[in-house]
């Protein structure tokens, strides 16, 4: 690692330690009430006691996020294909795809619960709803913005519709899919936590969202902080893994990495 890289890694870590120290010290000096702001040590202690439950919750949330993510990618690519094939479908449906992105997920969640019941299925549906749009819009762009010269080349050799799709449009859309997936991956955790907060109260679908809900109700502030931290880490993990998979695919397929 070069000096600059070490600095880039070290400085945020030092800053975090600094903030935690000030936090702990302030708690000690000003005797802040636990309910308003527990100290880092109190959070750590309480989390340690509930470690098993918290880990299980993290796993449940991660699983719900992954399932919804997988559905988003499959369904999103299918919709994008439909839009790239049918101009009629694109012109009549695509605008709503963009409009729907602006509807707050919290507003949709109760509807989903009415339709799919409380439990894991609702959580997965909410994850899908929040994470599908970046996939659809990016892949549609990838399928439709193909190099004009390459399209002419395909026409020159009388390429069939399937050749156009499999040899030109789909490979062209791969970097766009990966960009869409990267944006979606961060949203999946948001969707999963919101979903669990509102619907994930079944014994086997209790994820971090449920812990946030319950710890809030029961004034277990330490658990609340721990859940926030864990869902953030889960989000970072999702985005990081997606980026890594994307980078691997791009380099193996030899796409220029700056594309998409």
């Amino acid at each position: 690692m070069s000096r600059n890289e070490i600095r880039q890694f070290l400085l945020p870590v030092l800053f975090l330690i600094f903030v935690l120290l000030v936090w702990q010290l302030a708690d000690y000096v000003f005797e802040i009430k636990r309910i308003i702001l527990p100290s880092p040590l109190e959070i750590a202690e309480e989390s340690w006691k509930k470690l098993d439950d918290l880990m299980k919750a993290t796993f449940v949330t991660g699983l719900a996020a992954l399932s919804g993510f997988a559905i988003s990618i499959c369904l999103g690519v299918t919709l994008a294909l439909l839009f790239s094939i049918s101009k009629l479908a694109k012109q009549s449906i695509y605008p709503y795809m963009i409009l729907l992105q602006t509807v707050p997920i919290v507003a949709i969640a109760p509807l989903v619960i009415i339709w799919f019941g409380g439990g894991l299925s609702s959580v997965v549906v909410i994850v899908t709803v929040i994470s599908i749009f970046p996939v659809v819009t990016n892949v549609t762009t990838g399928l439709t913005t193909v190099d004009v010269g390459l399209t002419e080349l395909m026409h020159l050799y009388q390429a069939s519709r399937s050749d156009l799709l499999f040899k030109l449009k789909l490979p062209n859309a791969v970097p766009y899919l990966l960009t869409g997936a990267r944006i979606s991956s961060g949203l999946t955790i948001v969707g999963a936590v919101v979903g669990e907060y509102m619907a994930g109260h079944d014994i086997d679908s209790r994820g971090l969202g449920y812990f946030i809900f319950m710890s809030n109700q029961n004034f277990q502030v330490e658990v609340l902080y721990a859940s926030i931290l864990l869902s953030t880490l889960l989000g970072i993990l999702m985005v990081g893994l997606t980026a890594l998979v994307g980078k691997t695919i791009l380099s193996r397929w030899a796409y220029p990495l700056h594309q998409g």
Partner: protein, 272 residues
């Protein structure tokens, strides 16, 4: 046997009425009269008539925006238009674009092989890819067999253009369309590649339509030069009388210089 190349284009629909006349056998590879091409609202080509004999190198020059590229695309069947007569006698056209236009996700080999794959699948049978002829094509444009497994991003601009040429030649075309190829390359490299493609076309008696804005390049390479004006039609049709094999020392000859001057003058007239 006449073969009217006529592809469905994805550009704005143009009402088309190609009338194919069962004309008597001539050795013209393209014969068209009063071709009109409209793109969007504007008329690009107006009442353009043209005959291209086989094995000729014909260059098209003209001011920018005169429709040179459009003419080339219409002849290749990539753009629709209307014509009184539009007869083509070629079966395997090839096109070299201004940019290399390679697929970044394919290796050099797979880029070169693409036209063969497409030809195979349009005939309804599995593509037959002869590695030996690919090897020959690759070497003929000055690439090494080591380059076959490289990806376009690993190559320089000149190398990419060579791959683009190899892709055009791999189908053993009977006509070659070139739209300002090598225009993005530096002068020396452009001359080198022009020389190379000229040698290939001359020895294989390949009919070539070459769009350029460089008069000296056009004269050096061509058997014939068409000058277009901004109205979208051909105003001058000039025969170039230079020996069939073009060598760099020609550039100093009085004959060459006088013909460059002649074409330049015609081009200036076309611009007014």
């Amino acid at each position: 046997m006449y073969n009217v190349v006529y592809y469905k284009s994805r550009w704005p629909e143009i009402s088309s009425s190609h009338t194919v006349q069962s004309a008597k056998l001539v050795k013209n590879i393209i014969e068209l009269s009063s071709l009109n091409v409209t793109l969007g609202q504007s008329d690009i080509l107006r009442d353009l008539s043209l005959q291209i004999p086989a094995a000729q190198w014909c260059s098209i020059v003209g001011p920018s925006g005169c429709g040179k590229s459009t003419l080339l695309r219409a002849l290749a069947g990539l753009i629709e238009g209307t014509a009184e007569k539009f007869v083509t006698d070629f079966k395997t056209p090839a096109f070299v674009f201004q940019d290399p236009t390679l697929m970044p996700w394919r290796t050099v080999r797979d880029n070169v092989v693409l036209p063969l794959e497409l030809k195979g699948s349009s005939d309804g049978r599995r593509p037959r890819i002869d590695m030996l002829s690919i090897q020959e094509t690759i070497e003929c444009v000055g690439l090494n067999s080591d380059d076959l497994i490289k990806f376009p991003r690993q190559l320089s601009g000149g190398m990419r253009m060579r791959v683009s040429m190899a892709r055009a030649l791999v189908t053993q075309p009977d006509i070659l369309f070139m739209d300002e190829p090598f225009a993005a390359l530096d002068e020396l490299l452009r001359q080198q590649l022009n020389q190379l493609i000229h040698e290939i076309c001359r020895t294989q008696r390949l009919t070539t339509l070459f769009v350029t804005h460089n008069v000296s390049e056009a004269v050096y390479l061509s058997d014939r030069i068409l000058v277009m004006n901004l109205e979208g039609t051909i105003v001058s049709d000039l025969e170039i009388s230079l020996p069939p094999q073009r060598t760099p020392d020609l550039r100093g000859s009085a004959l060459y210089i006088s013909q460059v001057n002649e074409v330049t003058q015609r081009l200036q007239e076309a611009m007014q």
